[in-house]
Amino acid sequence: MSDAKAQARGPQDRPMSPHLQVWRWHVTMATSILHRATGVALYVGVLILAGWVVALASGPDAFSTYRAALGSPLGLLVLFGLTVSFLYHLANGVRHLVWDAGKGFEPKTADMTGWAAIAFGVVAAVLIWIIAFLGMGAGQ
């Protein structure tokens, strides 16, 4: 790199991390991205939850409309996605807290806990929804 070019570099020219296109995909990278993606999904989830109490406080009509929307096929799909997002974000959040304590950084350990967090999110969500539907069937 020439000196002139080095001097001309402003803040916007500096390299930024991470550069998605130059990294080979690996599980720890995927868990980091998934943590953000599920976090953004849960942002919407909290707004849906807040909307639920607002609908409830607004009376029976508003509540039944809100409940019907959540119970529609699209509503159930969103709620299932939020269940996976919450359980994954929880498991990966615990992983982050362990890292904050200075533990679990060995590559093999980090890979293993990463896969565990992903598996926990999906498997636990599916189990919870099976239990929910079995319970509904038994209740009717």
Binding site: Y43, V53, S64, D100
Partner: protein, 130 residues
């Protein structure tokens, strides 16, 4: 909230962004609170999925459910405000767009918190149908 920053850190008030340590700690404290609160909310959603208007109202009328719901609303909106702020700061580079989105994020989180807490208190104290 109690400040968990060191006295030296507070006195010098330095750091990459001058206030990042406060957000770092707040994000972790709220995360620790949200682990049990979130699991409780998930369990409660299963219980409430079968409840109609009267059942949901009676559920929020119970003091324990009302208190935990308010704690969830406060902790969740604090946590999601910082999380979304980090996402905006990382990916939006145009200063004006970034400022607008950060402000919008802040207002949405405060609005969601106040609306949820107010409605929980209304249902718990005077009932939903009033």
């Amino acid at each position: 909230m109690t400040s968990y920053r060191t006295p030296l850190g507070r006195a010098k008030n330095t750091g990459s962004a001058k206030h990042g340590v406060g957000h770092f700690i707040t994000q972790r404290v709220s995360a620790i609170a949200l682990a049990p609160l979130g699991l409780w909310a998930l369990y409660s959603s299963l219980v409430l999925s079968r409840a109609g208007f009267d059942g949901a109202q009676a559920w929020l009328h119970a003091p324990l459910n009302a208190v935990l719901s308010i704690l969830l609303a406060v902790a969740a909106t604090i946590h999601m405000r910082i999380g979304m702020m980090e996402v905006i700061e990382d990916y939006i580079h145009k200063p004006s767009t970034k400022a607008v989105l950060l402000l919008l994020n802040y207002f949405v989180c405060v609005l969601a918190c106040v609306a949820a807490v107010f409605c929980i208190l209304k249902i718990a104290l005077i009932g939903a149908a009033v």
